[in-house]
């Protein structure tokens, strides 16, 4: 392009980043929320009882078994999720037998009140954390396959942006320690590089592994050319081998007490780490019970599961899965992407680097405008349409999207509980408010729009704990004294995000608006400074008063 290889990489980095930047910010933010989807879902169903993590797991298992034997005798599989650090409720899941024409039966989820042993009734319909996090690969309002291709395209460009960024920015490590604040352009350039460099392995991993989720979709041509449909099934068996295929005997059998198996599992694992129990064919003489704990390894650790024969309650040795080398690499990347193995501290780290990713893309987008700003402001007809558009989309996405997500939580509390299509309307609220916030900056000077939207975001996040206090009985006044850290943690996190946005709003006001008002500024006269800040003198004076 411009002769020099590194220059052409810089060009590519800039434009590739600009084309998909806003989608990437959206994917990073909603995707990061996925590391807390259980926590978010629990907060979004305030009818659920408080956490019962303190109870003995053996008793909880006995309670679950009693409930399921009463209500789910016709189910092929029972799933029990014990109260744990991520979700403090006892959750039971099964599927009803399929009706005519259905491929699979209706899914039932019951949250058990551990005081009474009964299911919690009238839980509001909500998309919860799952609906929020699935936006990052499934998008919304479009067929699944279209979403996968759009996401794949953006991810591919992100991969190119990561690689080109490393190539052209060769002084990457020495410049890492230089931050030159207060010089508009250099400041943002440094922020962009720092945010990128800190977590460069994460950015590469999350991008590349994102592509691996839909490997056969994206590489459909070579996949379908190389394998016929029978072989395709075999391919998946080789890449992701299942433990064992298990058939029922069709003879009735009585399931041994799960609480007895729990005692055995504690001895076997040496620690009380059980979180999930699955029972296959609970009413059959060939029933199987699988005990699992949180994954302890990035790739597969056979020790994370214990299998019991349901009737005798004895441990069954299962042959370890045969994994292939590429299968293990694939699995490892996907596991790193999902972070299922992550302990609370590592999960916090995931949140940190996920937000770093969003910040990296966002600062890159802001850098694009900062670089072009002086030239654009000298134009007699005002800035170009393209420049204005980028500026507007930046504001609408970087601050607008968080506001929209906060309003998703608001909608959860404020929409009538009995409303039809309630869960769908929660998501509609998210997208409607995002659309408004994307359009709004078109009618305001850029810096004013930044400031105003930062103020809005500070308010909507800070208000969430209060809104929760007004509308539910699971507010901080209850959750803190009862040490339900799941629910309290959500409220406190929202408050922290709100305070961070308040700080950002304060900084924008102090540095840009007030500085512009100072007489005899460093290089510009006051009016010019105000023009750069995008303010008319009257608004600025009002702000500084």
């Amino acid at each position: 392009m411009k002769g020099d290889f590194r220059q052409s990489m810089k060009w590519l980095h800039t434009w590739v980043g600009l084309v998909v930047g806003w989608v990437l910010v959206f994917m990073f933010i909603t995707g990061t929320s996925g590391y807390f989807k259980k926590e978010i879902t629990r907060w979004m169903e305030p009818e659920r009882p408080l956490a019962s993590t303190h109870l003995d797991k053996g008793e909880l298992l006995a309670m679950s078994q009693r409930y399921l034997a009463q209500h789910a005798t016709d189910a092929k599989r029972w799933q029990i999720q014990l109260p744990n650090s991520r979700d403090g409720n006892l959750t039971l899941k099964w599927r009803k037998p399929p009706k005519k024409g259905e491929r699979r039966g209706k899914r039932i989820t019951k949250i058990i009140n551990t005081d009474t042993g009964l299911a919690t009734e009238n839980i509001r319909a909500t998309g919860g954390g799952s609906a929020l996090y699935s936006l990052h690969y499934r998008l919304h309002y479009m067929p699944r396959i279209v979403a996968y291709w759009i996401v794949g395209f953006c991810t591919m460009l992100m991969l190119i942006a990561v690689i080109t960024g490393v190539i052209f920015y060769k002084k990457i490590f020495s410049d890492f320690f230089t931050y030159r604040a207060k010089k508009g352009l250099i400041g943002w350039l440094d922020i962009h590089s720092v945010l990128s460099v800190i977590a460069i392995p994460f950015h590469f991993m999350i991008t590349y592994s994102g592509l691996l989720f839909f490997l056969a979709t994206y590489m459909a041509l070579s996949f379908n050319l190389s394998l016929n449909s029978d072989q395709q099934g075999e391919y998946y068996d080789q890449v992701f081998p299942n433990n064992i295929v298990h058939e029922k005997s069709n003879v009735l059998g009585r399931l041994a007490p799960l609480s007895d198996m729990y005692i055995v599992s504690k001895q076997h694992w040496k620690k009380d780490t059980l979180t999930n129990v699955t029972v296959n064919f609970p009413m059959d003489s060939n029933s199987r019970v699988k005990f699992s704990r949180w994954e302890t390894d990035i790739t597969y650790n056979p020790e994370d599961q214990l299998v019991f024969a349901g009737v005798s309650g004895k441990i069954i040795e299962i042959p370890t899965r045969k994994v292939t080398v590429p299968g293990q690499i694939n699995d490892g990347f996907i596991s790193l992407h999902e972070g299922k193995f992550a302990t609370p501290i590592v999960r916090g780290l995931y949140l940190f680097v996920g937000l770093l990713g969003a910040g990296m893309v966002a600062s890159g987008l802001i850098l694009w405008t900062t670089k072009r700003k002086p030239k654009q402001l000298k134009k007699t007809k005002g800035p170009d349409f393209g420049y204005r558009l980028v500026e507007q989309l930046n504001i609408g996405t970087i601050v607008g999207l968080p506001i929209a997500i906060a309003l998703y939580f608001w909608a959860n509390r404020l929409l009538p509980v009995g409303m039809e299509n309630r869960a769908a309307w929660e998501i509609n609220c998210l997208f409607i408010s995002w659309a408004v916030l994307l359009i709004y900056p078109a009618f305001r000077p850029a810096i004013t729009a930044w400031y105003e939207q930062l103020k809005i975001s500070a308010f909507v996040f800070c208000f969430i704990p209060l809104l929760n206090f007004i509308t539910t009985d699971k507010h901080l006044g209850i959750t803190l004294p009862r040490s339900d850290w799941n629910l309290a943690g959500f409220d406190l996190t929202m408050l922290a995000i709100g305070l961070a946005f308040s700080f950002a709003a304060y900084k924008v006001k102090k540095h840009v608006i007030v500085k512009a008002l100072k007489p005899n500024g460093d290089t510009y006269k006051t009016d010019e400074n105000l023009a750069i800040a995008g303010f008319s003198s009257s608004t600025a004076k009002k702000e500084s008063n």
Binding site: M156, I160, V239, G327
Partner: protein, 97 residues
């Protein structure tokens, strides 16, 4: 006749070369690797490795298409690479049982 004198057309051409040519190269390279490793690893692992590498090859091809001197050259060389890989895969298919 439309004259493509505006340099923007060449940028557009290059983008298409990188997008389409790069994707074609990703596909043909995955076929090539799956045939190359077929003997030693079996079709499933060989294809899997080919597909795992395809995204990296796509990225490199796209980057190269933007760094080479002209758009025409980007198209021609990508086409050549594709043809070579497809021919080699075809030959390997004859050799492999």
């Amino acid at each position: 006749m439309v004259k493509f004198t505006n340099p923007r057309w060449w940028v557009f051409s290059r983008i298409m070369a990188a997008t389409l040519g790069g994707y074609a190269l990703a596909t043909s390279s995955s076929l090539f690797f799956s045939q190359l490793l077929l003997q030693s690893l079996g079709i499933y692992q060989a294809l899997h490795i080919g597909m795992l590498l395809s995204f990296l090859i796509y990225a490199c091809a796209a980057m190269w298409a933007f760094s080479t001197s002209t758009a025409k050259r980007a198209w021609l060389l990508l086409l050549q690479f594709n043809l070579v890989l497809i021919t080699l895969s075809g030959l390997l298919m004859q050799v492999n049982p």
